[in-house]
Symmetry: C2
Subunit: 142 residues, 2 copies
Amino acid sequence: MLTIGTLAKKTGTKVQTIRYYEQIGLLPEPGRSAGGQRRYGDAELDRLSFVRHARQLGFSLDAIRELLDLSDHPDKSCAEADAIARRQLRQVEQRMARLEALRTELQRMVHDCGGGQTANCRVLEVLRDHSECLTDHDGIGA
Amino acid sequence: MLTIGTLAKKTGTKVQTIRYYEQIGLLPEPGRSAGGQRRYGDAELDRLSFVRHARQLGFSLDAIRELLDLSDHPDKSCAEADAIARRQLRQVEQRMARLEALRTELQRMVHDCGGGQTANCRVLEVLRDHSECLTDHDGIGA
DNA sequence: AGTACATCCTCTAGCTACTGTAGATTCAAG
DNA sequence: CTTGAATCTACAGTAGCTAGAGGATGTACT
């Protein structure tokens, strides 16, 4: 039986995050010690590892909820899990494309910066006037 | 003189977002009409455009605050603005590297999915067992 | 002048995915 | 039996907005 701290260490999760996952129903309520502290078994360890791994791959908690549900029903079709992963892949590719454009623009900004005074700073100039951009970036950072 | 709605349209910002920027001190309090509605001039339009453009390039509101401050003092050294932009560029490059790893992993997941039952679904298997990953992805989505 | 309707106002709450804090309790080692 | 680390609950806070309620204002038309 694992304490919440040990589980946290084993999965690279913060203790509070585990309690948060329990609160939002992503993890089941675990058993408790006589004194009321949470005690976990291997099933919970596996489930939390699954969640963390999916988070590292960028899946949202909602998507993970769906994946866990699929994982709990081995007779269901694989198609749904595949669809979720494909959706995730598309998102990742979109983010990469946006970042690519941002990188180009930022590189140009810092490259052109002569290091003089802000009055004619390239960085600020570009920010002031979008028309100076060579790329059409449209998304926010992510 | 522009109403908040017109300013919103011209800058591609939501009305609430403009009020939010004002609230957190990113935009100055504008003048008001007799009835108490906000009225904006060209200075505000420029400032908001600057903010939006920087946001599109992924700068945080805190970084934008710094950049605006530099922009307000044309005699200051350009070095700070350059440093902020370089920091941003580094972040973008880090995010890209992480996404690259995630994309590889996701591609492998969906490619290997045979479309059978979830019991032997490749997607779920990979999520269950990190050791099946070829890449070491460590960041969350962004 | 009256009326209809879009836009505006303030205020509050909600979103994602956590993270941090305070004050009290429990556990394990010596 | 004490000490100190870990745990408990509950609540507040983070970024960067977004949405809604309930009411006031602005403008165009008759």
